[in-house]
């Protein structure tokens, strides 16, 4: 192993990190909104809303992400005149927006199931208690349902975030130069697959480690009821009575 080369490769690949994080967080943010909508559709109890959401989740979880990316990036080119008329071509011409679209649609399907699990875990007696206190509608959602859902869903949501960091690597197939894209380019230029692989793998591991830690910190912060109460200092005055 050539450490001087690996150091150089590390710096080269590091320049792809902003794009990797950008793709991850933009698509996760859009995906979360769509996922919440899907989860609410599935829980609405109205078949006309439930079925499309179910079909959506089935389709996007049952097909490879790479097929979805190709379908959007190459496939939509077939409808170029129509899209140009609609003014949407400026988006679908750009590999960045195609990657964002595919990643968003994909993560929304997985995340909606996580949200649904979280929403279902809200104990019914808590909702009833809140109703008895006179809360309803948005106030009940904001104060009771949402916090419990978030707490329940957070561990699974953390793994979804890690999966998304890994999934952004597929954007390299449609010319996005994020960490994997740069790594592939570097390998084909230098033919030093193992060194580049070690460096790129290290970058992903560091990213995922940081994300895991942040999620763990939020989890800790959100569940004070599971922590032991802080030890109370014994009162000294008592001895002087």
């Amino acid at each position: 192993m050539d450490f001087a080369f690996m150091q150089e490769a590390f710096l080269t690949l590091l320049s792809g990190v902003p794009l990797t994080l950008n793709l991850t967080f933009v698509s996760v943010a859009f995906g979360a909104v769509l996922a919440l909508l899907l989860a609410l559709m599935r829980m609405s109890g109205i078949k006309l809303l439930d079925w499309p959401a179910q079909a959506y989740v089935f389709v996007f979880r049952g097909t490879p992400l790479l097929v979805q990316i190709f379908l959007i990036y190459y496939g939509l080119g077939q409808f170029r005149p129509t899209l140009q008329e609609l003014g949407l071509w400026v988006f679908f011409r750009e590999p960045y927006w195609c990657a964002i679209a595919a990643l968003t649609l994909n993560t929304a399907a997985y995340t909606s199931e996580i949200f649904r699990g979280g929403l279902q875990s809200v104990p019914y007696n808590q909702v009833e208690a809140a109703k008895a206190c006179g809360m309803s509608g948005f106030l009940l959602f904001r104060r009771i349902t949402f916090p419990i859902t978030v707490r329940q869903a957070l561990p699974a949501y953390g793994s979804e975030l890690i999966l998304m960091v890994k999934a952004t690597s597929l954007a390299s197939v449609i010319t996005m130069m994020e960490v994997t894209g740069l790594a592939a380019k570097l390998i084909s230029q230098t033919f030093r697959a193992i060194e580049v692989f070690v460096v790129a793998g290290l970058i992903y591991l560091i990213l995922n480690f940081i994300i895991t830690r942040i999620i763990m910190a939020i989890e800790w912060w959100l569940s004070p009821h599971l922590r032991r109460p802080p030890a109370v200092e014994p009162r000294l005055e008592a001895a002087h009575v």
Binding site: T63, P64, L65, Q78, F79, F197, F209
Partner: protein, 240 residues
Amino acid sequence: MQELSYFELIGFGPNGWGWALLTAAGMTIAVAFCGFLIGSVIGTLVAWAKIGGNLVIRGIADGYTTVLRGIPDLLVIYLFYFGGSAALGAIGSLFGAEGFIGVPAFATGAIAIGIVSGAYQAEVFRGAYQVVSRGEIEAARSVGMHRGLMFRRIIAPQVLRYAIPGLGNTWQLVLKESALISVTGLVELLRQSHIAAGSTRRPFDFYITAAILYLIITWASTYLFQRAESHSMRGMRRAA
């Protein structure tokens, strides 16, 4: 030239790509299946290392599952694709061969999938092993079974029973991961669709067909795994 209809395009007629797509779908299943089997072997060994190994072996096994689950699969495929041919080239030059030696894409793909899915399967097997009742293992030992016999008669059947749901999930992952093998040039479903899309200039039609075929494969395998699960649980009593 007259525009072909969608069904002429993907059909089995003279201008249809039907057979090509079906063959490619078979290739997808074949490479995923081989990768899955390799992963099962690796997963079993790694799970064994995690359960029964000493500190060093356990550390290596933990490192393997952490690393392989933390880095993108595409990167692993690149490693085997580029690294494999570099290694073969080095070995070849020892024996006097010159120039670039390509690794067969099928082998690259199956090995890469196997190495990645091995990390997932190791966790599945480890979890399933922990469900096997300690008493049964003690009973097996007390009737004098040696380790191999105990593994074959007591541990393996029960671990497999409890591992079926987890293995089903891993199989779905592997199936979707096999689409990434298309970057190495193996003519599986996605690659074939790419080729067809390029030569007919009808990309949407072919990618949507590929998506439908993937859906059929995943749907069928969900069904088969459910059947396997209910078959393997037929002797178990269930609460409520």
